[in-house]
Symmetry: C2
Subunit: 363 residues, 2 copies
């Protein structure tokens, strides 16, 4: 059973819930918009499906609904932001805005963030740069689900990287990728269908190759992009590590196996070396390199040439990073956001508990 909500109504519902836990109006609106950008773009695992998870983190006092988010250190092109345990959905746009302001003056801006929580999808934050004719970057660490090459232990999160690059008449280039072979959300889809996973996605708790989509619950691990050493998993491991270090070792957040878990019922790691979760943001003004119009003309040329590359048999076309998400957003803005039954039930519980009206379903 699947439900469909209109985007504006689901947005209002989400805003209302964030208001109920004590967020300011501005923060509630921003947090809802950040969270639901995932649903609009088809990254269902990171959207409203996580709303109850965020609320539970607030309930156990791991999320501060009224944070005092501050710059604690800065230079002309850098800053460290302390998120004061706020919703990452609010802390991250603050930090990205700092990066953008720095870039206006210094050409680029780079902000590392500590003491934050999950920030939704990296794409939302990186794309904030586009309207300023800037390249935007966003990354975050997350609790350890990924085993480095040759490791039995989970040491890294799925640690995504997003780079958003403006174009001219073409839509922007938006690459938003977990540094694992497959995002956890894809595994969840297989779990629901009771299907097995391709090799290279996961290993079991002893570090053996596995295709059991339920392996994570049994102590197994996701694998870095590449899957195994022969297929370059040491590269995915390195990329995930870079995200971890930029997000947390630069800022003073927790890193590696010490990153706080998203589920509120999972105990916190012992011996945590930092504060909260870490993020990293970047903004580069295009005209700090060359005139923006000139750059955009060449980006249009780049995109057009790649889009027109000859496709392999059985495929219509070569995609540009960001194409599928943009097409999904165009569709769901109009047709609504589909919600699976378990998420609907979660939202219904929240609605009752916080006395917020759940929107009618469109279908």
């Amino acid at each position: 059973m699947e439900y469909v909500f209109s985007y504006p109504e689901l947005l209002e519902f989400t805003e209302n819930l964030f208001s109920k836990i004590g967020c300011s109006d501005t923060d509630a609106k921003l947090a809802a918009r950040t969270l639901l950008s995932a649903d609009l773009r088809g990254i269902d695992s990171h959207g409203v499906a996580r709303l109850s998870g965020y609320i539970r983190l607030w309930e156990v006092k791991r999320i501060n609904a009224k944070p005092s988010i501050k710059i604690v250190h800065e230079t002309p092109s850098t800053a460290v932001v302390d998120g004061d345990s706020g919703l990452g959905l609010v802390v991250a746009p603050f930090a990205m805005q700092v990066a953008i302001e720095k870039a206006k003056n210094a050409g680029t801006g780079w902000v590392s963030v500590k003491n934050s929580n999950h920030f939704g999808i990296a794409g939302f934050h990186a794309m904030m740069a586009l309207e300023h004719d800037m390249i935007g970057m966003a990354m975050t660490n997350a609790s350890a689900l990924v085993a480095p090459t040759f490791s039995v232990e989970r040491m890294l999160g799925t640690n995504p990287i997003c780079v958003a690059i403006p174009a001219g008449s073409q839509p922007p280039f938006v690459a938003d990728l977990a540094t694992t072979t497959a995002a956890n959300g894809k595994l969840e889809i297989l779990q629901r269908k009771n299907e097995s996973a391709p090799t290279g996605w996961i290993q079991d708790k002893e570090g053996n190759i596995s295709t059991d989509a339920h392996e994570l619950k049994k102590g197994g691990a996701l694998l870095p992009l590449g899957g195994d050493r022969d297929h370059g998993s040491h590269k995915g491991y390195a990329l995930g590590s870079i995200v971890d270090i930029f997000s947390a070792v630069l800022s003073g957040a927790n890193y590696g196996p010490w990153v706080p878990p998203f589920p509120a019922y999972v105990p916190m790691p012992t011996g945590m070396p930092g504060e909260g979760i870490g993020h990293f943001f970047g903004a580069m003004r295009i005209d700090a390199f060359r005139p923006a119009d000139e750059f955009k003309t060449h980006m249009d040329n780049w995109i057009t040439r790649f889009r027109n590359a000859k496709p392999v048999t059985g495929q219509d076309r070569v995609l540009i990073p960001g194409d599928p998400e943009r097409e999904m957003e165009a569709e769901r803005s109009v047709q609504g956001i589909p919600i699976v039954e378990s998420v609907y039930n979660d939202l219904a519980v929240l609605a009752e508990k916080f006395e917020v009206k759940i929107p009618p379903t469109v279908s």
Copy 2:
């Protein structure tokens, strides 16, 4: 048959050759050191094996031995450098130094380069930042050998990324990776041994899966990190694209299928939209974020924890990015640089042609 040269003697030989084509003493020394850093670190495909290739590019006037390398645009944290068709081996260290100087003042420095040539290994340039207590980054585009996900056509180079991060008592973290499943050098090793390649490395000229290590010569293509769509090749494709855009669309170099080929006998692409090959460099001062000592203490903790992660059966240990190359460098600095017979013959031809004495072999 394999030959071994002592590093200092091979360095002198290489310097002498660069002098013979007209490089200044300073440039000849720098170019030789840059090139041979690949051999020292075990990335044999990018070292002295390519010396004759560089010389041939000079012979066809695609490399300018006396370039006037210039900053053509800048802001406090950015610059664009015009390499004036110089050896990338010289242009890249110039540009990286600009990034480092920018970082001293603005916190970070970011330099995009046009009108350059192949720059050796990314690691050499990124690691220049380490002694300044900075994080270093280096990337470059290269001629198209890689097919994007769903593409039959080769559109991207192997487009490597290196990120070098200083630590305290631990050696630095140095991730230097081509954005393909396997570097071209690994394929060349299989070709010499007449062995087949794992699936996920290459496709044939129609875009079908192939394990023939000679496929590239038959019109086939390398595959982006991930190998196929199910294993995340769209992520490797996105990463390679980001390298291409940062290196060339930001600077005004050639991009995508228009990047000039390394072999001098391969015709130049038609309709080239820019100048030469492009690179991108970054330097971030650690203390633009937090005190360097504090950062290094946490990096030591990060590295130690990851190194001590429980290994899978059959493996001794979990590696830190940069471990294998550093160990190789320690070994080869002392024991010398092994050279395969075909490369030795190449060098002997150069020695005779340019009247440079070839060093004695150590074994």
